[in-house]
């Protein structure tokens, strides 16, 4: 067979493949295999209890069986309460929706008394695959070129990373946030790029996802503002006044959800966050803080609480929930106090932001184990399977907040040029994309600041969860649009290009 013959055969084969398997399907199937193996094939993996799971378990009628492991190992089975459950939700959240569904599925298909953690994973896994499909479609459609498949592989490399999918087999609220974000992002991009493909339905998907996302965790309340920015693009797509009314309604809905989520934070949570914002923020990364806090009206003795948790992990000189601490510390160090403190000690705040910048791309929860006890792994062992992206990003992303600001400016300029060009040529796609990226960049910049002021460096990596998700989405958009020649003009066409 001649070289040309091989070439023709290869081309035919390639066309056959491309006809039968779209990039989106490829990404979905790969993600299904990679995540499915991690989550469902025994001994399956997940994330161990960090001490917060009880909030999601007891409210939803689950209890711990004997041998329940904290921190070190994933506990595969839980009990389902057979009696009246009088626990009420400690926090307002949309997370119980997911857990309740998982319990329901478990009862239907497995057991009425024992809960298998994999049902929790399944509840996230299925919509996750859908979101991967939508995201890849939004990034590659309408092409099926080689580069489209490269983009699909990149999406799998980033979003099928085990540091994300491990969350599925756990009672953390993060998987819901990840999936909802993927849906919201893809829906908005698709509405812009394929206005003839269910635009109204996708807009509804966008708004519902954003609202559920905000309601998923109290710390997401401020994100309502960011997602208001991302929603502005919709005004360019829908031109009729009546449609604008609906969009305004959606935005009001987002803001209301944000306000509700914020106001429904319980007193206890406020106390915890306020305490840790002080002990894990104000007191850190400074020389002796004793005199500094004394100057701002707090007894200098509280400097000794540096690095203390609200729930002491072992031994402590005083119980932080003690009335005297509330009177002497919590009542004095309000949100405003902390802001003023940092305003007077900016270098310290900057150092804390650099700490946050160093932590933000580390998505794998290192504090808890990923394996079951039966696996024979040491306590707290971490999965390394398919964590290429998160470990590279975690190790090489610069640990400087100033860098983040510069990166934000650079990205804004790039996407602004695209938006300007589209505006001049009366197109909308890149305008929508600009507002979407701008909204996500506000997450990138402001979430670290809010986290430091709101809770110090306690649980920082988890509070920053939306930061890497947002940045990864921007990164993928950037690369995909560059490859598809759509970065500067939305009418870029690669059909004429060679493969």
């Amino acid at each position: 067979m001649t070289v040309d013959g091989i070439k023709v055969k290869w081309l035919n084969f390639w066309r056959w493949c491309a006809r039968h398997c779209s990039p989106a399907l490829l990404a979905t199937v790969l993600a299904a295999i990679i995540a499915g193996y991690l989550l469902f094939v025994p001994p399956f993996h997940g994330l161990a209890d960090n001490g917060d799971f009880y909030r999601a378990q007891f409210v939803n009628g689950l209890y711990r069986l004997k041998g329940y492991s904290m921190l070190d190992y994933v506990t595969p089975k839980l009990g389902i309460m057979q009696y009246y459950n009088d626990t009420t939700a400690a926090v307002f959240s949309s997370q119980p929706l997911f857990v309740k569904m998982a319990v329901l599925l478990n009862k239907l298909f497995y057991s009425k008394t024992v809960f298998d953690l994999r049902f929790m994973g399944l509840i996230y896994y299925l919509p996750y695959l859908g979101s991967m499909y939508l995201l890849t479609t939004a990034m590659t459609a309408p092409y099926r070129k080689l580069r489209s498949y490269v983009i699909a592989l990149l999406i799998v490399f980033v979003f099928a990373d085990s540091s994300f999918t491990l969350y599925f087999n756990s009672f953390f609220a993060e998987p819901g946030m990840l999936i909802l974000m993927l849906y919201a992002f893809s829906a908005l991009m698709l509405v812009a790029r394929r206005p003839d493909w269910h635009p109204r339905l996708l807009t509804v998907v966008y708004f519902v996802s954003i609202m559920l996302l905000i309601a998923n965790k109290q710390q997401n309340a401020p994100l309502a503002l960011s997602y208001t920015v991302t929603s502005i693009g919709l005004f360019f797509i829908f031109k009729k006044r009546a449609q604008w009314l609906w969009i305004v309604g959606g935005i009001v809905g987002i803001l209301t959800t944000g306000v509700l989520t914020y106001t429904l934070i319980t007193k206890q949570f406020n106390d915890i966050n306020q305490y840790q914002a002080f002990t894990h923020g104000v007191l850190l990364h400074t020389d002796d803080p004793s005199k500094k806090i004394a100057k701002r009206g707090v007894d200098e003795q509280y400097a000794l609480m540096r690095n203390q948790d609200y729930y002491p992990k072992s031994f402590a000189a005083i119980n932080p929930s003690d009335r005297s601490v509330k009177k002497g510390l919590n009542d004095k160090t309000s949100f405003g106090w902390i802001v003023m403190y940092y305003a007077h000690h900016y270098p310290q705040f900057h150092t804390l932001l650099d700490v946050a910048a160093g932590d933000m791309m580390i998505t794998q929860v290192k504090a808890v184990g990923d394996y079951q006890k039966a696996s024979g792994k040491p306590a707290g062992a971490q999965v390394t399977y398919f964590t290429g992206f998160s470990s590279v990003a975690g190790a090489f992303f610069p640990q400087k907040f100033s860098f983040d600001i510069l990166l934000t400016l650079a990205l804004l300029i790039v996407f602004l040029v695209g938006a300007y060009n589209d505006l001049v040529h009366r197109r909308v796609v890149n305008v929508v994309r600009f507002f979407l990226v701008a909204g996500l960049l506000t997450v990138f910049i402001f979430v670290p600041i809010i986290s430091i002021i709101g809770d110090g460096d306690a649980d920082l990596a988890k509070h920053l969860f939306m930061v890497p998700v947002s940045l990864d989405l921007i990164l993928i958009t950037f690369v995909a649009d560059l490859l598809n020649h759509r970065l500067w003009h939305s009418d870029g066409n690669i059909e004429e290009d060679n493969q």
Partner: protein, 520 residues
């Protein structure tokens, strides 16, 4: 010379360790078994149990606590136990364990029954007859002091028997019923119809128990300020100490401390306040830390915490003379071993509302001198006629009368006024107290008002001496950290330069583009 010194040291060490082992062997060999029917929280059952454990430890006996349903046949008759205490918390439950009833009957050691449900056989052992009294409020009195007890539902009283030693009397308000003994000891058997872990009841119960187990050790009470922490108002603490000293009242302060952040100015200030307490004739009990979470592996961490707390204080001439802890610490293997056992003086305080154990074994240890913490407030209603009669009470075991650290200036004045007006002859640590605490390689001592560190006397001044200077700029060294820092800077510069170049190019490009269309 050196060899001889080592020899002497070795011999000394041998003696010390020998002494230690004999005490523990003796203690471990003959425990007192406490058997309780139920915790019954509605009737403060846990507190009663803890109170009993506290009194028994103060008397100097080691205990083992067992739930009635967990008792197995033959446990008592193995000669492992010096005595048995039956605590009935929930008479309505009518809980029985036939094996226990039988074994108790044949048991030849000391027997004490606390609470209701005294059986006929037990009464016979006390050579007395029972009398049940229903729905009465009783007055507990001894000598000329008396205290009104809370309303009790039912109570089983004993007709006084001959050959019995009685401690206090119970007199119902209804005069027609007559007087009955409170604590009764007849030979090897004893009875307390009612027990309250505070007030006059605890004092008289301690007398009964001390008599029964043969270890009366009368001493004046020690005034003890509890609830001090490094976060307390230290100015108020020093003021309180100065005022007490001026009034000639020796006292103790029970305070927690921290193991971390000791290089901060706040810690020096805390240590300085405690030195002022020491200079005002106050002694210091280091209070065991609050337990957030603990398990069987917590031993090393507790050891480290305690040693660090003691050494950091010791370096600043704050020399605790004992360890204070809630009663439940003495029922936990880890807490006992790494927390309490390092000290010859242990002060046991009532339990907090939540108790977190590391390894609960319900085996109460005994120490050279165990102080029974008893709230002063609970004794203020013990009256002699109209007079507060705390000064007339006789304490059969080393007792610390506790006063919570005042939380306001107003409370401070009130506390001072109250304490100075009592007229109690307080315990003088400067004369009577001998103390020793080991903290890793260091030994803290206290004898006749002098503090010793590793055997040599220590002078306590206002300023601490001999503390190493701390450098606050502590740098964290992480592998590759510097690399990342450099890399971050490089990228920072790179992006700045690129942005500038980009802007210039944009500008230039625009000019070139425009010139292409300009007519020449």
């Amino acid at each position: 010379m050196k060899k001889r010194l080592i020899l002497v040291l070795a011999v000394l060490m041998g003696f010390v360790s020998l002494g230690g082992t004999t005490v523990t062997a003796q203690a471990a060999g003959r425990r007192v078994l406490i058997v309780y029917d139920a915790l019954n929280p509605t009737a403060n059952g846990q507190k009663k149990l803890a109170g009993l454990q506290q009194v028994l430890t103060s008397v100097g006996v080691t205990t083992q606590t067992e739930k009635l349903s967990d008792y197995y046949a033959g446990q008592l008759t193995t000669k492992k136990y010096a005595g048995v205490v039956t605590l009935v918390n929930w008479p309505q439950g009518d809980l029985r364990n036939a094996a226990f009833t039988r074994d108790r009957q044949t048991f030849t050691g000391k027997k004490l029954h606390v609470g209701q449900d005294l059986s006929a056989a037990e009464a016979r052992g006390l050579h007395a007859t029972r009398r049940n009294v229903y729905h009465q409020q009783l007055i507990l009195s001894a000598d000329k002091q008396s205290q009104l007890l809370p309303f009790s539902e039912d109570i089983t009283l004993l007709k006084p028997a001959r050959r019995a030693q009685n401690f206090g009397t119970l007199r119902p308000q209804n005069q027609g019923i007559g007087r009955y003994p409170y604590g009764t000891v007849v030979g090897q058997a004893g009875y307390l119809p009612y027990f309250e872990p505070s007030g006059f009841s605890q004092v008289l119960a301690a007398q009964t128990i001390a008599q029964l187990f043969g270890r009366q050790r009368q001493s004046p009470p020690l005034l003890t300020i509890t609830g001090v922490t490094p976060y307390s108002d230290l100015t108020r603490l020093t003021k309180l100490a100065a005022k007490l000293n001026a009034a000639g009242i020796p006292f103790a302060v029970s305070t927690t401390s921290v193991a971390d952040n000791t290089s901060l100015a706040a810690f020096s200030r805390f240590a300085k306040a405690l030195r002022m307490v020491e200079n005002d004739q106050g002694i210091i009990f280091l209070q065991a830390p609050v337990v957030g979470a603990a398990d069987r592996q917590s031993g090393a961490l507790l050891e480290q915490t305690m040693v660090e707390e003691l050494n950091q204080l010791g370096q600043r001439q704050v020399m605790p003379v004992g360890i204070s802890a809630p009663v439940y610490w003495n029922q936990d293997k880890i807490f006992r071993k790494y927390g309490l056992a390092r000290s010859s003086n242990v002060l046991l305080l009532p339990n907090p509302t939540t108790t977190v154990f590391a390894q609960q074994d319900n085996l109460g240890g005994a120490y050279t001198q165990t102080w029974m913490g008893l709230s002063l407030n609970s004794l203020l209603t013990v009256k002699n006629g109209q007079q507060v009669a705390v000064d007339r009470l006789r304490f059969p075991v080393p007792t610390a009368l506790t006063v919570p650290f005042p939380t306001s200036e107003k409370q401070l004045t009130a506390t001072l006024k109250q304490v100075t007006q009592l007229g109690v002859t307080w315990y003088q640590p400067q004369d009577a107290l001998k103390a020793k605490i080991t903290s890793a390689s260091a030994t803290f001592g206290y004898r006749q008002g002098t503090y010793y560190l590793n055997g040599s006397p220590v002078t306590v001044g206002t300023e601490a001496t001999g503390i190493p200077k701390y450098h606050f700029a502590q740098k964290r060294h992480v592998a590759l950290d510097r690399y990342f820092k450099v890399q971050g800077n490089i990228l920072f510069v790179f992006f700045t330069v690129t942005t500038v170049v980009l802007v210039i190019f944009l500008f230039l490009g625009r000019r070139i583009y425009r010139q292409m269309f300009r007519r020449k």
